[in-house]
Symmetry: C2
Subunit: 270 residues, 2 copies
Amino acid sequence: MGMNRHYVHGYDMREALRLQDQASSLVELMHSDTVYSAGSVVLEAGCGTGAQTITLARNSPGALITAVDIAESSLAQAKKRIEDAGCTNVTFHVGDLYHLPFALQSFDHIFVCFVLEHLARPVEALHALKALLKTGGTITVIEGDHGSAYFYPDSAVAHRAIQCQVELQRRAGGNANIGRELYPLLMAGGFNSVNVSPRMVYVDLSKPQLVEGFTKNTFTAMIEGVRTASLAAGIIEATTFDEGIRALYRTAEVDGVFCYTFFKAVAFKQ
Amino acid sequence: MGMNRHYVHGYDMREALRLQDQASSLVELMHSDTVYSAGSVVLEAGCGTGAQTITLARNSPGALITAVDIAESSLAQAKKRIEDAGCTNVTFHVGDLYHLPFALQSFDHIFVCFVLEHLARPVEALHALKALLKTGGTITVIEGDHGSAYFYPDSAVAHRAIQCQVELQRRAGGNANIGRELYPLLMAGGFNSVNVSPRMVYVDLSKPQLVEGFTKNTFTAMIEGVRTASLAAGIIEATTFDEGIRALYRTAEVDGVFCYTFFKAVAFKQ
């Protein structure tokens, strides 16, 4: 689903979120303040199967969006999703984020969502994207951070199960805890006026849609999705992993609480 | 500083925050949406040395605030602080939060800030407070959560140093990770319509006042404050603790990031 051939197969945050209601409060939480003016030329770098592309296209109906991904199969799905939604302001291109086939300084804005977490050289990728951006243009980056997950009841085995995904992603060259790092990454990438705003998802039973849609069906399902890979990699015992998953589901019960934070950064090219 | 005779002496979050600028953005973040109407009768349970009392009194100048604490020496300091600030809407009483000397249903609102974390029986305390609240009245609870602290660069020894305070507070009967637990606690305390809103403090170098005022002089100073007690309790080696503290200060350097979340809950008595 990303720009990197070595990402963790199976569930990741984007795919897990995609399987939930597209009109959910999580989409609102992350994307509602990204609105590009009519006529803006916008690059979505690493669109995957278009999970975020559709929100981008709807929130900025007058913007001209170029969505790129390295995986042709993902692009085909993204294209179909955008067509099915009746959006006409997106064009699709295959391309490697480190070497995109576009003219220098050809975009007003760049949007990168759940992509840097999969890259072995995120600063290099940001430098490459900066070259495509016009002076005065913005880059928007959204990433999760698995180290931001905590919950009630607390559970050491639940943290160990989460750590399996962190470790698999690390071995694949990525970083599942990259959200907290957006400020130094964008500074190192040569951007200016970096502004990071955390988007914390706080879930208790007063928000039953989030208990279902985030705690259970997004986050815990995503961690559950790395069971086979984690056991195969010898990172954890099956019984420990399964106990950790049960402890995560336990946080979705009547007195449970679950916290996770996404980080959104906007920066300028001066 | 609290209702519990067994709290961790030395620094805690309230005292650490108190030493910072009272007009800081942290005060705003936590307290700006607590405003009681003129004539309201408000109980601040566990006022300590008045660190929050002064903000409460200023934000609700027409409310009649009764501030109680079990420690006479703290109350004396609170009284002086309120007088020095020229606030005239606060009266002070010595009292044990579990057995306060007030008539049942005598308060319109109750305010509890950085107190439950020190109590061995927080649900019992909430029940006792509920009895003092009029039907239809609100309780507001604010607590930190040390398990919500994460940072860049990440550091295992930094987490071990933080864990010293968590462990000392646990041994004293308290819970330094209580913030995430406010929803189930207030439900168990018999309150209704519990609404928890996390207040995340995100710090990078674009907010230099927070780097100084929160990362270094509040949070890290607070953890540093338990060095002697932690070594005496045999929880950690001196070299490990000191390395952890250095790693926390490292997050205040130019590319560092620090995250911490306070939880604020408002609930009703039906």
